[in-house]
Symmetry: C2
Subunit: 688 residues, 2 copies
């Protein structure tokens, strides 16, 4: 995980970084240790790949929705980040469309690039890797001996898209000529990028009817399209179909890292402006690719041979020798690999980044992608709204009724009077006596927020932190998973911890599972205790107390508490609370029950045991909380008087480790995390 | 004069219309009966040519300071005017500069054009004449048999400027291809434009060191540059210097009219996108042009032969046959004509449009070029500020002291309580009894603004009208001329009259001469009587009454006035007012004196006779008013209480025709203007 916080850090700006090739390049950049800022205007993409990459790489990826033609908006990015180099993917790219709306292509691609270059000039950024295309060569078969195509093949694009690419190359050349010592430009001419990220989480998500062979085949395979059309089988090739140079998008992405390295190291005394082909050097026919994809998907796709398409030529294969020699780059994956990865992407994401039943909105300011709320299961009768602010449950609706208390936007959540509504509580949930704990004999003192204890980590509390993500997936028809990540570093606690919070809902069984995972990323051993702090209310009307709720507790073992609210270390039998109806004047709980689950740093191996059952006879809603954790705090007094809610409008069940375990020898190991160890727990909320 | 008022009229939008070629095209367009709207961002031009052209052609030329890259600003123009076609000159054009700041060239030229085309598309304008360049051919000598250069010569520009021109041609082609029925594009590839408008009033005004031969020679001739450099005399030409195809800018401008006509008439069923060379077909060497210019200027310019310039080639002469055949256009002027016209421009405007001692400012809103104030003689001790609002004298300063009353901005001038301060009064100054007059037996009734008279034309009064111009010239070191024009049409008066108001100051003799000219442009015979309504105050302190001023009147003949304030037709001897000191309590005048000048519709043939002398002993300023007019109204009571001024803060001397002359048989001919006749008068204000 990279540290995104330092203002002196050098950043790579990736324009169009939410697009197909851009998002794969971002993945490779982070993999290679670069810090990336992404801008994209979403004209043919969305935020999802960025959210997914953040969680996938545990890295913050600052994102700005910027159209490159908007100079002032772009400047703000350069003002906030020290942009060392740029990889420029942003551009319209559909050949056919470009012949229909050429002005749009010229304006977007050329003006966008010129504004970008002007901004780079203004802010002293001199290195740029440009996403060009083999389209600049036009029909290379018009010359003798130009297949495979070398970089010195005469250019001659045959459509506005290709012309914009060539003109941008010329602009770069002219700019370099005007200040030859200053500018360092790498022009990468792509052949045919295919495939997807091996994770299956990012891939190509074309709008409308795909223009390219592979995405089209994938849509036929998942039955979004009827059949494949093969344009001509009367070419002079092995099987009569045209030959192209297909390159796995991950290989292509790595080519950008190679080019960036070349710009960073090659002969720093002078500038450069140079083009490299990125291709495999090996041509495949349409039918060969077809067969490879059929094999990968294990589906025999229907296809029709139809007439040749205007402008198509027999063979466009790259001569990639220059890239091999100078950039030390070559392709590693085969067409078959690309087909497998594409199939993984296509089956996992049949509608690309669009997931049915998922909606998102901004949670703070418009276009602030770091503060969002995402709803899963929309329209299903079991719907959860999650915010990356605190990785919180903002709402949970059963048959349209909210069963948790929530607030409206980030401001309300980070307000001091918010009693952790729905939030992930960490790094250390519940109390630490005296705000202290010792690690390897060294005492650590936290800020106190109770008279003689630190509760819920005080000012380091996660409920005010913006988590990365979520990475939302829909692994089967009824299941949605949203995964958040947080790099919890530079806090009052020792050690940098990566925290993963995963919510999984099953809209059929009406179950919500929350899973916590913590890993020490860097630095010292630390303490950790994570829980969720939702306030439940099963009343038909949420805006009243939850009087009348019938509770059943599956434990009668409670932690004995001293005057400071911290356990004495002794467990005692509670007065019988196994079954009771809650009333406002009746008995109130702020009590830690022992579940009988085995302790340990990772409790996920334990069975999910029921610990509490709540039922309201008017709504007929029943909630059963199950957990792998050794204790749960049962808290009936909340949430106090906050925006929209009164005293005792919700009850909490907070599974976790023993209170103050960090300071009690026999419980300590369950909250002490060493580098290499993994903290884990699971809690399940079942509604029927 | 065209009528610029109708909203249904079709307009030609001229982008870059304040530039060298653009301004000449505007002149030719108006000459050919087209209505022009001009936009320009003034990055290499100024408003002066537009102001001059308006007065030169007596035509309103709506102007907007718009950068084509600013789509919303451009749209406002399309919203206000029904743009039928566009002639697109706007663009950066210096080859050398383009190699130094290529981004600026790409951005300005390409983005500007794309935004223009997008705006045209949005507003349904489909015809465009594009200002391209022979530069798109690059070195045509690299091919055999391509001199003279035909349009089908392969292109190959060798610098960013030329590339932007070629790319715009390609954008036009692609756009035409995308909607072939719709678009009608004429691409004009200019060879070497030279010369200036035969009027000597518009011409090339390069910023900085001229890039081109002719402007450079002109600057050497007027001693702004030391000597001419000839780059190489070892070419294979008649005299060793390179051959170019020079074309008079007026011929070039006419080529645009020819192209526009072609777009308007040629085969209206389909669109087109076609290029034409605009050149003479005849090459001239550098030394031949040098000799022609020396002859025209009668100066032997010093020159040095220096080494060849990179990129220069032997011969770039146009083959203009396509334009001759299809556009029915060819050049008429020779290099010698261009040299004469250039010399006229250069000598009349040694610093181009910049005139020493002239400053201008907006008089209403910023960028509202129809309401400006222009100061002449700045810093000289005799300075006049004129506004085109009412063609008014806003200020007149003698040794830094204002001697007339003025207001701050247009709002104050058009306010109903403004008593005509400094304004041109017309169409009929002074009173018309009953607001009536008869022309050829037909009685006309004006709105009354006194109980039984119309004074100073009531609501038609010129003091609220925005005049065209001014056209400012500086014919000799001490003289400044500012000429305003007004098309006074569609008013309460019959007939459309063009009124020219010319102010001439001599900063040495401290004289201001005001000349009026009126011509019936169209329609009926009418009445006319023009004067200036300045309020003078010679006190050292202007913001007090002018008590103490010593007056001497050169006439004792006054018009006898009846109760309605109109003359009875009789002239009588006034009580002796030949010499008196003005006091607030003393005698007041609102009296029409007879000067002894001969009447007639044009009095400019008369001598300028002194009619009044005013002297203030404290300021020691003396004003002598001389006029060619038969009467003057002496008015001591003004200006009433208006912004900043009190009662009797200024006195007026308003030379003109006999009051109510239109209704008195013996005086009537001096105010009745028939088509073909010219109304004229002059008044001189001398200060010592």
């Amino acid at each position: 995980m990279t540290d995104a916080g330092k203002s002196t850090a050098k950043w790579v700006l990736v324009t169009g970084g939410a697009g197909y090739i851009g998002s794969h390049a971002v993945a490779e950049l982070i993999e290679s240790g670069y810090r990336c800022v992404v801008v994209d205007n979403f004209c043919n993409s969305c935020y999802e790949p960025i959210a997914r990459l953040q969680v996938l790489t545990n890295t913050k990826i600052p994102f700005f929705k910027v159209d490159l033609m908007d100079g002032p908006a772009l400047e703000k990015v350069f003002q906030q980040y020290n942009i060392d180099s740029v990889i420029h993917f942003a551009g319209l790219k559909a050949v056919g469309e470009s012949t229909k709306v050429p002005l749009t292509y010229y304006h977007n691609n050329i003006t966008g690039t010129v504004v970008l270059l002007q901004t780079m000039k203004k802010y002293g950024t001199t290195k740029l890797v440009f996403s060009s295309s083999a389209t600049v060569y036009g029909d290379a078969t018009r010359f003798p001996n130009m297949i495979p195509i070398p970089e010195n093949c005469p250019t001659g694009p045959t459509n506005p898209y290709g012309k914009t690419k060539l003109l941008i190359e010329e602009i770069l050349e002219d700019l370099h000529t005007s200040e030859p010592e200053k500018w360092r430009f790498a022009v990468l001419r792509y052949f045919n990028p295919i495939g997807a990220h091996p994770s299956g989480l990012i891939g190509e998500d074309p709008l409308g009817i795909p223009n390219n062979l592979l995405p089209y085949m994938a849509q036929v395979a998942v039955k979004r399209r009827d059949k494949l059309f093969v344009f001509g089988n009367d070419y002079d090739s092995r099987d009569g179909t045209p030959i192209r140079d297909y390159i796995h998008v991950v290989d292509l992405a790595k080519g950008h890292i190679a080019a960036l390295k070349y710009l960073n190291v090659a002969d720093n005394e002078s500038g450069l402006c140079r083009a490299w082909n990125l291709g495999s050097g090996t041509g495949s026919t349409v039918l060969e690719v077809y067969k490879a994809f059929c094999k990968a998907s294990n589906i025999v796709l229907p296809y029709d041979i139809v007439g040749r398409r205007a402008g198509d030529v027999l063979n466009l294969t790259a001569k990639p020798d220059r890239a091999t020699e100078e950039l030390k780059w070559k392709t590693h994956f085969k067409v078959a690999d690309a087909c497998s990865d594409l199939w993984k992407w296509a089956t996992g994401n049949p509608y690309g980044y669009q997931v049915l039943g998922v909606a998102d909105a901004f949670f703070n300011l418009p276009n602030d992608y770091e503060s969002r709320v995402v709803a899963l299961g929309c329209g299903s009768g079991f719907e959860i709204s999650l915010s990356n602010v605190g990785a919180s449950i903002v709402d949970l609706k059963v048959d349209g009724k909210s069963v948790v208390l929530g607030l409206v936007n980030e401001c309300e959540y980070v307000n001091d009077n918010n009693p952790y509504l729905g939030a992930t509580v960490g790094r250390y949930a519940n109390r630490l006596r005296g705000g202290k704990f010792s690690i390897d004999g060294v005492e650590h003192q936290l800020e106190l927020n109770e008279k003689s204890a630190t509760v819920h980590s005080s000012s380091s509390s996660y409920h005010k932190r913006r988590f990365l993500g979520p990475l939302v997936t829909n692994p089967s028809k009824f299941k949605y998973i949203a995964k958040f990540a947080l790099l919890d570093s530079h806090s009052q606690f020792p050690g940098d911890v990566v925290v993963n919070v995963t919510y999984e809902i099953d809209i059929k069984t009406r179950e919500l599972e929350v899973e916590y995972e913590g890993i020490v990323q860097e630095g010292q051993m630390t303490v950790i205790n994570l829980t969720n702090h939702s306030y439940f209310n099963l009343n038909p009307f949420q805006n009243t107390g939850y009087d009348g709720t019938e509770f059943k507790l599956f434990s009668d073992q409670v932690l004995e508490i001293d005057a400071a609210g911290c356990p004495t270390g002794r467990v005692s039998k509670s007065p019988d609370a196994s079954k009771f109806v809650y009333t406002k004047g009746g008995v109130q709980f702020d009590t830690c029950f022992v579940t009988g689950n085995k302790g340990g740093i990772d409790t996920r191996e334990n069975k999910l045991e029921p610990v509490i059952e709540a039922y309201h006879p008017e709504s007929k809603l029943k909630l059963i909380v199950c957990t792998t954790e050794p204790t749960f705090q049962f808290y009936t007094k909340g949430p106090g008087f906050i925006e929209g809610y009164g005293e005792r409008f919700g009850f909490c069940c907070e599974p976790g480790r023993f209170i103050n375990a960090a300071n009690i020898e026999e419980w300590k190991s369950a909250v002490t995390l060493r580098k290499g160890e993994v903290y884990g727990s699971k809690t399940l909320y079942k509604f029927n």
